[in-house]
Amino acid sequence: MADPAGRRSLFGWVSPLLTLALAAFVVVSLTTADPVDRDRAERIGKQVRCPACEGESIAESPSSYAADMMGYVREMIGEGRSDQQILDRLMAAYPRSQMLDPPFQTRTALLWALPAAVLVTGLFLAFFRLRKPVPPESTGEAP
């Protein structure tokens, strides 16, 4: 970048300030925004696998079985139950259905542990194996 010296010194402090101001605006707008008001039944339905179809949630599946289950979800929302209560009752009423979002338990821990292990190993290699102290003959400087 070969800006004239004057422009560079101007950018020297204007630019970071402008960046900060824009970032602050974005952060404030996003943190004060109302949470998205999704259809509650749909949100719950998306977590439950439709037992009659394959791999789809009951909110997405066009099957009548899924429609029945969604009807039950709406009914329970009408009764003012909590999300967890609704899910529990749904699982009890339709024993062949399954959560699409696996609960965190001992038998599912590996599901999170394996990718985490890859991440940790990768970070370890990057920091401690690949980035070695610079050999003496090199003229570069270690940061």
Partner: protein, 685 residues
């Protein structure tokens, strides 16, 4: 008759593949390969590609001639399957898709051969070794075709609409049903289904070539830049097809499946996405080796991993172990694929381990904040991403197999894991190209990124003020504009520098700058495609509105998302193989009719479940997506959803593939017609 021809073709291809493996290995082992063994290689490649092509031609001929004595035709074809689906039936079911696999593999073998022996190319034992490895893979797939996945068996006992017993012996007494059931109804609903599988296969099978070069280099103890350059080129070829194939697959799901989405983290989608992630990682880490000589061992791991994942994906989707919308087949092919997968992974990694000593010990990184540090970050993220998809896909299977307990791992899990990784990737994609090699100092990097950063944030502010304050959308817009702005900034500053040295206008310099480094700028174009896709995904996932199941009698109106939908009636068309009921829905907005959407349900005589086809009203701002779950004269049950900026996703995916294609076009060595002759299209020109 056709059974005999097909069987002969497949056996010929099998023998040729074995011959190729032997001849390739002998030529590779000999430092000065005698011309006799080269001639032998050439013959085996030619015979294999012609025989594989012959098998496909015979299969198509049997389909077009309605020869129901051929088992594949009897079980997957019907006299009434319309054009072009009768052609596409050849790869719509298991055995035929293996024939396509063999053909693509043979075509790649031929392309590798042509490139290795092109004028000006230095024949190299690496090429012969790679051809040997391709031959060995070919032995497996052609072997499948003569055993557990034989499409050319002779039907010996026929039921009314299918073949109940068949024999692999071509001279058996042939009987055939008068007509068959036809291909899976889902697959004969849209033209994309005819194009998407071949594209995906070109990508999938293409990853065999970089793997073969990796194995060849390991076996011949030839680590260094030679195998890497070849693997890099062929990965790029495969990657372009894979990217386009995945995009068209998502498009097909959206246009045809009628559930309103384009990506469900279904095992078959994951099966194509995992090799894509690993191949993408390789495209980046290979640059580090090319430039700095580092990460060679890791690059071997990536090419072996990408190929293993394609076999794993084929196993998952073709063996029926996972019941999904895509696993329309079940057969004895499962154990064969699983065995091959074990042989490939164990064999390759054992070879890799035995050669570990010879792989040059890498110079170390001076600093993590550098271009190579950026590539490391990229590789780490892509690997973790692939690991998430892999564990999520395999976990339910493994858990059920080992403990018998069932657990569902679906969309919410994948979304929760994939979203943060994707954002991290986008940010890395923005900063990476702005970092210099070796060591990045703030005084070098800041001038390159401060303006793009402000442009990106300003784009976010604009979205907040004019459109939405939904966090994911705003962040996707910021991250996406950041990626594009950094690349554009680099382009402008290079053009300006080149203009200064020549005293010309900077804008005029842009084409020259781009042409001088097509690899880099093709990559930047691909990044821009990913950025577009990210914005589109954030919009469709967070801003869509939906309307669940409303009953509508003819004449009824319903308000939805600023539209008024009017059901005007139902029409029914009967074609020989299906009964299609179409609902006619007028789309009104501001007292004006904007369009007509026609969601439909088709009943195929072969399938109890009706197949829904959505009716989509496309506009620039959003799609209005209508589907019906019930349809009759009295009423329809309608579901509606909006998909904001949906078309941007297809644009992004194809731009991404286009970037890869452009970088291929920039390869220096000329290859007059030598790349993938069987496809008829050269990458770029």
């Amino acid at each position: 008759m056709l059974s005999l021809a097909g069987t002969l073709a497949v056996w010929t291809a099998l023998v040729a593949a074995g011959w190729l493996a032997v001849a390739g290995w002998r030529a590779a082992r000999d430092p000065v390969a005698p011309s006799a063994s080269i001639v032998s290689l050439r013959r085996s490649v030619l015979v294999m590609v012609l025989a594989a092509l012959g098998a496909m031609v015979v299969l198509e001929a049997a389909l077009l001639a309605n020869d129901f004595t051929v088992s594949y035709v009897a079980n997957h074809h019907s006299r009434h399957t319309p054009f072009p689906f009768n052609i596409a039936t050849a790869w719509a079911a298991l055995e035929g898709s293996i024939v396509l696999w063999g053909l693509v593999l043979a075509a790649y073998a031929y392309a590798v051969w042509r490139r290795a022996t092109a004028r000006g190319a230095q024949p190299d034992s690496l090429d012969w070794g790679a051809l040997a490895a391709i031959g060995a893979v070919g032995v497996f797939f052609f072997g499948l075709m003569v055993t557990v996945a034989n499409p050319f068996e002779v039907c010996t006992e026929a039921a009314a609409r299918s073949c109940t017993a068949s024999s692999p012996l071509p001279f058996s007494r042939a009987v055939g049903p008068a007509d068959g059931l036809g291909p899976n109804p889902l697959l004969q609903n849209h033209l994309l289904m005819a194009i998407h599988p071949p594209l995906l296969y070109l990508g999938y099978v293409g990853l065999t070539v970089p793997f073969a070069y990796g194995i060849s280099a390991l076996a011949l103890r030839r680590s260094g830049p030679a195998w890497l350059r070849r693997s890099g080129l062929w990965t790029r070829v495969a990657w372009v097809f894979l990217t386009a194939g995945i995009t068209l697959g998502a498009w097909w799901a959206y246009e045809v499946l009628g559930w309103g989405g384009y990506w469900a983290w279904d095992p078959v989608e994951n099966a194509s996405f995992m090799p894509w992630l690993v191949a993408t990682a390789f495209l980046h880490s290979s640059l580090v080796q090319e430039r700095r000589g580092m990460l060679e061992a890791w690059n071997f791991v990536l090419v072996i991993g990408a190929f293993s994942l394609t076999i794993l994906g084929t196993f998952l989707t073709r063996s029926g172990v996972i019941a999904s919308v895509h696993s329309f087949t079940q057969s004895a092919i499962g154990p064969a694929l699983l065995g091959f997968l074990v042989v490939v992974t164990v064999g390759s990694f054992a070879l890799f381990a035995s050669r570990a000593q010879q792989i040059s010990s890498p110079p170390r990184l001076e600093s993590l904040s550098s271009r190579e540090g950026g590539f490391l970050l990229n590789n780490l993220l892509l690997t973790v991403y692939a690991m998430v998809v892999l564990t999520g896909t395999l976990y339910p299977l493994a858990l059920e197999a080992f403990t018998g307990s069932e657990v569902g791992v679906g969309r919410p899990f994948f979304d929760r894991m994939a979203v943060p990784i994707s954002f991290a990737l986008l940010l890395a994609m923005g900063i990476g190209p702005a970092l210099p090699w070796r060591v990045a100092r703030a005084r070098v990097v800041w001038p390159r990124v401060h303006l793009p950063l402000q442009i990106a944030l300003a784009a976010g502010v604009l979205v907040i003020i004019t459109a939405t304050r939904v966090g994911y959308v705003v962040m996707a817009v910021i991250a996406g504009s950041w990626v594009v702005a950094v690349a554009a900034g680099r382009l402008l500053s290079q053009a300006r520098r080149s203009a200064r040295s020549r005293g010309a206008n900077a804008w005029r310099m842009i084409p020259g700058v781009v042409r001088s480094d097509r690899g880099f700028w093709g990559g930047q174009l691909a990044h821009a495609g990913v950025a577009l896709a990210a914005v589109a995904i954030a919009c469709t996932a967070n801003l869509s509105q939906s309307l669940d199941r409303v009953e509508m009698a003819p004449g009824d109106r319903v308000e939805f998302a600023g539209y008024e939908l009017v059901h005007t009636g139902v029409s029914t068309t009967r074609t020989p193989n299906r009964l299609k009921s179409t609902a006619h829905v007028e789309v009104w907005k501001d007292e004006r009719i904007e369009g007509l959407a026609e969601p439909a349900l088709s009943r195929f005589e072969t399938s109890a479940l009706p197949i829904a086809t959505p009716g989509i009203h496309h506009t620039l701002a959003q799609d209005l997506y209508l589907s019906v779950t019930r349809i009759d004269e009295e009423a329809i049950t309608l579901r509606a959803a909006t998909a904001p900026l949906q078309w941007v996703l297809w644009l992004g995916g194809l731009t991404c593939a286009g970037g890869g294609l452009y970088s291929l076009a920039g390869r220096k060595r000329r290859r007059s017609g030598s790349v993938r002759p069987a496809v008829g299209a050269r990458p770029g020109g």
